[in-house]
């Protein structure tokens, strides 16, 4: 049973560009959350998607947007990249209606470097 898969694993972008990161949730999970983890820091919540809608959002600017597809997979888009957007972007999936920690599963992340 595949867990949470994220692609790509690594990415280098130039300041000002746009980027799209992808996440496939664990089988049976319908809720996807995105986190930004700067080097040496804990993950920071970006937003959560359920039923193809953004349900919750952390303290991130509108440059960060997302999408969820009918098959529950999700994309994170970041526009007008800044050097400070360089981080590990983590996706976590869960069954809806519970932060069931035993089901709340993280992917290995996408390492984004902005130059």
């Amino acid at each position: 049973d595949a867990g949470v898969t994220q692609s790509p694993t690594h990415l280098i972008k130039t300041r000002g560009q746009q980027v799209t990161l992808r996440c496939s949730p664990k089988s049976g999970h319908d809720t996807v959350s995105w986190y930004q983890q700067a080097l040496g820091q804990g993950p920071q919540f970006i937003f959560q998607y359920y039923e193809e809608e953004e349900r919750q959002r952390g303290n991130f600017p509108d440059r960060f947007s997302g999408h969820q597809f009918p098959n529950y997979s999700s994309e994170l888009n970041v526009n007008a990249l800044l050097l400070g957007d360089s981080a590990l972007y983590l996706c976590a999936s869960s069954p809806h209606g519970q932060p069931d920690t035993y089901g709340y599963t993280f992917g290995s992340g996408t390492r984004l470097t902005v130059v």
């Binding site: 949470v4 993950p43 919750q56 983590l90 932060p99 035993y102 993280f106 290995s108 992340g109």
Partner: protein
Amino acid sequence: GESVGLHLPTLSVQEGDNSIINCAYSNSASDYFIWYKQESGKGPQFIIDIRSNMDKRQGQRVTVLLNKTVKHLSLQIAATQPGDSAVYFCAEIGNQFYFGTGTSLTVIP
């Protein structure tokens, strides 16, 4: 807003010794806490959780202690092994997860 912080950014222990990792939280209304382990190149992995109606919970080689009076969590790892080397985060669960900065644990063989 909530803030979750760790007392020590790094910790080195000898193999076989016990490890204690500490965490402070600020939201007294939080009722659910989790410890995660993150190895290099991987996402956070669930270790153990505790609810606010408990003050101690034990797992396999790990124990979490919760002191609500001083808003403090600790993770105890018994007989620390080289495979325990990782960054450990506490997370405070409200309507979303709030992670602390993390403590890097190094086990010396």
